[in-house]
Amino acid sequence: MSRQSPDPAPGRRSFLTEALAIACGGLATLTPVAAGVWAFLDPLRRKGGAASFLPVTELAAVPDDGVPRQFAVIAERADAWTGFAAEPIGAVYLRRGKGSDTVEALSATCPHAGCFVEMEPTGRCFRCPCHNSTFTLEGGIVAPSPSPRPMDGLECRVAKNGSVEVKWERFRAGVAEKIVQ
């Protein structure tokens, strides 16, 4: 501490000193910040795994009465460091017309904000329990609905052995277009 001595007058080299001080201090501080931000941004380079067809059930289990039924989608999944053996990862509604051999699949995830869409107890429409978005049994919007788009259809195929396979994808919520997430 220099109690008595007056403040030294700014010298000629002061600009250089100031600039250097700021640069050195800044660089020193920015290093940990940069390392932190770099790691923090890691999720941005993670993409949802490539969509693949997952066997959901078999044809006989989807009654040909045009009424959608809920089925769990079961798959192996990884959550950061944990690998999970096959377990339910979501749900789809499957629907088959009278005598038809093709199955239509709708994702049970609400396109509005991502809640779980359920069938009305009356069985006449789908309704999301969060914001009351309502959909027809074909997945179409019942106006007025907060949802910006109909329920998301998923590609669905029936294998030769009768296995019903659904291409499991997630889509961005809250937008009118169906964009794979």
């Binding site: 501490m1 109690r3 923090f40 941004l41 999720p43 941005l44 993670r46 993409k47 949802g48 066997p55 959901v56 059930t57 078999e58 006989a60 289990a61 039924r69 769990a72 989608v73 079961i74 999944r77 959550d79 950061a80 460091w81 944990t82 377990e87 339910p88 990862i89 979501g90 749900a91 049970a108 509005h112 904000a113 991502g114 809640c115 779980f116 359920e118 107890p121 009356t122 006449r124 329990p129 969060c130 914001h131 009351n132 106006a143 007025p144 609905s145 907060p146 910006p148 788009r149 294998a159 052995n161 009768g162 296995s163 997630r170 961005r172 919520a173 809250g174 937008v175 009118a176 997430q181």
Partner: protein, 689 residues
């Protein structure tokens, strides 16, 4: 370090006053020593001797209670942190442990949970007072802005804290909140991905939310709070005019008022924590952990719908606000979730500038009151939608309900039913709308009730002596027959089978619509007694609505069994007892002789054994279901897997699908685990504490 002249004098005086300090006790000397080297007395003086214009007043306590609430959160949060573990397999588990196993954990978590809510209320009051008093005006603009930033930080902490227990409630609420963040233009999806730590919700969603909740946000909050408070001291307290009393010092008058207010806030929080327990005590019920403090829902399960998903009450208005834009499509959601809340915050930030206009202050006050009233109204609307069924009078709607049931809600049919009466049609349709509101509300109430039951069961399971497996609570929940049985049954069996106590009031209606046997207490003596009752066997609870209605079993029960010479009452009872024993449901009080007799009757080739196999009675499989181990887990798993197997119904199987059989490479309708769960549930074979 530079010192003002007076301060230098102080230093010289204190160092030359060695004689004076020698007369002090050791504590006084220590204080002098410390003050010499730190100047703490001046700091304390500075902190405590703030001039309060017009003296201490109750209206000045709000800011202090907020600081107090934050300190409470900091203290309880740090202690919670000492027991919390942020990962998808440990978050719920560690919160369960805090809440239900650790001594005092419920109180710690209860204070943290409810003080967070108190903080939101105090924030609103503080903001309201600042705006009404015009305390945002020059030179306090920057401090007002800081206050708004602090408010957003607090709300951010509330939002991130909601997820941390990783229960169904927090999980689904967070999905909605983060999906809404995703609709911000350009950066939205990236923000969403950064916040949830990838594309799926899991470990990194928790670690990030926890880092935000306990690190970034409170860190920023502390920094801002320091500046907020120092600016508050710099500008002095914004005194409410007119000042009628003399000025006073902050210490001790205002501090006393602040302290009393803090204690009152704490008392309210403690009250909220303890009221459910007190209520239970007064009602003479035992107090259990669920009564104490904050709720913990069932563990988060992405594959399980959660129809009771709602944000915490102070965010309900935002939740309800989204419904205002029904039918606006993506624009509506963008407006409701981003634009309007953004504009409101924007206006609040402009208040210090708007306040310079002639009517600016009035506008600011009106705007703030309007926003708070609007939020209040939306909250009321949200609550009304959810709880409507509780308070609406359903009696006047009985006729409309009847018409709805008759017409199936079809307008054309209704018009016909009313004979084209337009006025009546409009009236009934209006009543139908009310009925629809009741139905939605009831669905929410049912879901909320179910959520409570699920949570209670999960907590019961977690408390088993074996504790939670390393894979986490979800594994235990998914393997619990009591939780999964009803869901699997509803999804796969209930379209034909009933599962209802025949004595229940609604039983008749449910049985009338079922097309296969009622499986309530299947395998038990009560079920078998009904089957062997000539009055019931062809009824809806047994074979009445099946292809076996006119089958051999029905004619046997209605024929042979009614012949008292062939079948005495005791014989039938013995068969019932023996069959329950096959299922493993033998009454412990039953006589061994009775069991033996029953078994002999069933085995007998002249009686049941004529069609049914039991053990090695020599009857070939194929004519009727094998009764060996009837109703046991193994037997039930077998029949659910493949009822067309010769051990069960073979070719005469009615409509029951083979749930566990599938072509090679295809997935069966039910996995072996699911079939086992159904069997266990039907047998009521599940963990009991």
């Amino acid at each position: 370090m530079r010192h003002a002249p007076e301060e230098k004098m102080e230093i010289m005086k204190s160092s030359s006053a060695a004689g004076a300090s020698s007369r002090k006790g050791p504590l006084g000397r220590l204080a002098d020593f410390l003050d010499d080297r730190t100047g703490y007395r001046a700091v304390m003086h500075e902190a405590l001797y703030e001039r309060v214009p017009g003296g201490a007043r109750w209206r000045y306590v709000w800011g202090s209670t907020l600081v107090f609430a934050f300190m409470t959160q900091l203290i309880t949060g740090l202690f919670l942190w000492a027991s919390y573990s942020a990962s998808a397999q440990t978050a719920w588990e560690s919160v369960y442990y805090i809440q239900h196993e650790m001594a005092g954990g419920w109180l710690l978590r209860g204070i943290h949970h409810f003080m967070a809510q108190a903080m939101v209320v105090l924030l609103a009051l503080h903001l309201l007072q600042v705006v009404i008093d015009g305390a945002y005006r020059a030179p306090r603009e920057v401090n007002f802005w800081l206050g708004l930033v602090l408010m957003m930080l607090v709300l951010g902490m509330a939002l991130t804290g909601y997820l941390l227990p990783w229960d169904q409630k927090g999980y689904w609420a967070t999905i909605v909140a983060t999906n809404l963040a995703g609709i911000v233009p350009v950066f939205g999806p990236s923000i969403q991905q950064l916040v949830i730590g990838g594309t799926e919700y899991g470990h990194h969603t928790l670690t990030r939310f926890f880092a935000l909740h306990a690190g970034f946000l409170p860190g920023a909050l502390i920094l801002m709070l320091v500046v907020h408070l120092s600016l508050f001291r710099k500008h002095g307290l914004h005194a409410k005019q007119p000042i009628t009393k003399p000025d006073a010092m902050f210490w001790p008058d205002q501090v006393l008022k602040d302290a009393v207010a803090m204690l009152a806030v704490m008392a309210v929080v403690l009250g909220v924590i303890l009221v459910p327990a007190l209520k239970a005590m007064l009602a003479g019920e035992p107090v259990h952990a669920g009564h104490l403090g904050a709720e913990l829902g069932a563990p988060a399960d992405p594959s399980l719908p959660y129809a009771a998903a709602r944000p915490e009450w102070y965010f309900l208005f935002l939740f309800q606000f989204l419904k205002v834009f029904e039918g606006w499509g993506a624009t509506g959601e963008f407006l409701g979730a981003i634009v309007v809340p953004g504009l409101i915050m924007g206006v609040m930030f402009l208040m210090p500038i708007l306040g310079n206009w002639k009517l600016g202050h009035r506008f600011n006050v009106a705007f703030t009151l309007g926003v708070i009233a609007g939020a209040g109204l939306l909250t009321a609307l949200a609550l009304n939608e959810d709880y409507y069924a509780l308070w609406v009078d359903k009696a006047p709607l009985a006729e409309a309900q009847k018409l709805y049931d008759e017409t199936g809600g079809d307008e054309a049919k209704l018009t016909a039913a009313l004979g084209g009466d337009k006025a009546k049609l409009a009236a009934v349709e209006k009543q139908w709308e009310t009925l629809e509101k009741i139905r939605r509300s009831q669905a929410f109430l049912d879901a909320a009730k179910q959520a409570k039951l699920d949570a209670a069961r999960a907590i019961e399971l977690a408390g088993r002596p074996e504790k939670i497996p390393p894979a986490g609570m979800l594994e235990l929940v998914r393997a619990d027959a009591k939780l999964q049985g009803p869901r699997l049954f509803a999804q796969h069996c209930a379209s034909c089978h009933a599962h209802v106590d025949p004595q229940a009031p609604a039983a008749a209606a449910i049985l009338a619509t079922s097309s296969a046997a009622n499986l309530f207490e299947f395998g038990r003596a009560s079920w078998m007694r009904g089957l062997l009752d000539p009055a019931q066997v062809a009824g809806p609870a047994y074979f009445g609505n099946t292809a076996h209605k006119d089958g051999d079993m029905v004619s046997f029960v209605q024929g042979d069994l009614t012949d008292a010479d062939q079948w005495k009452k005791d014989d039938i009872e013995a068969v019932i007892v023996a069959m329950a024993a096959e299922a493993g449901h033998a009454d412990p009080g039953v006589q061994p002789a009775m069991l033996e007799k029953g078994r002999a009757l069933v085995t007998d080739g002249e009686r049941c054994g004529g069609c049914h196999k039991l053990g090695d009675n020599g009857t070939a499989l194929g004519s009727a279901p094998d009764l060996t181990g009837w109703g046991s887990r193994e037997w039930l798993v077998g029949i659910i897997t493949d009822p067309t197997h010769e051990r069960f119904y073979g070719d005469s199987n009615d409509r029951m699908p083979s749930f566990g059989k599938a072509a090679e490479g295809a997935a069966p309708m039910l996995s072996p685990q699911q079939i086992g769960l159904l069997a266990d549930w039907l047998r009521e074979d599940w963990y009991r504490p």
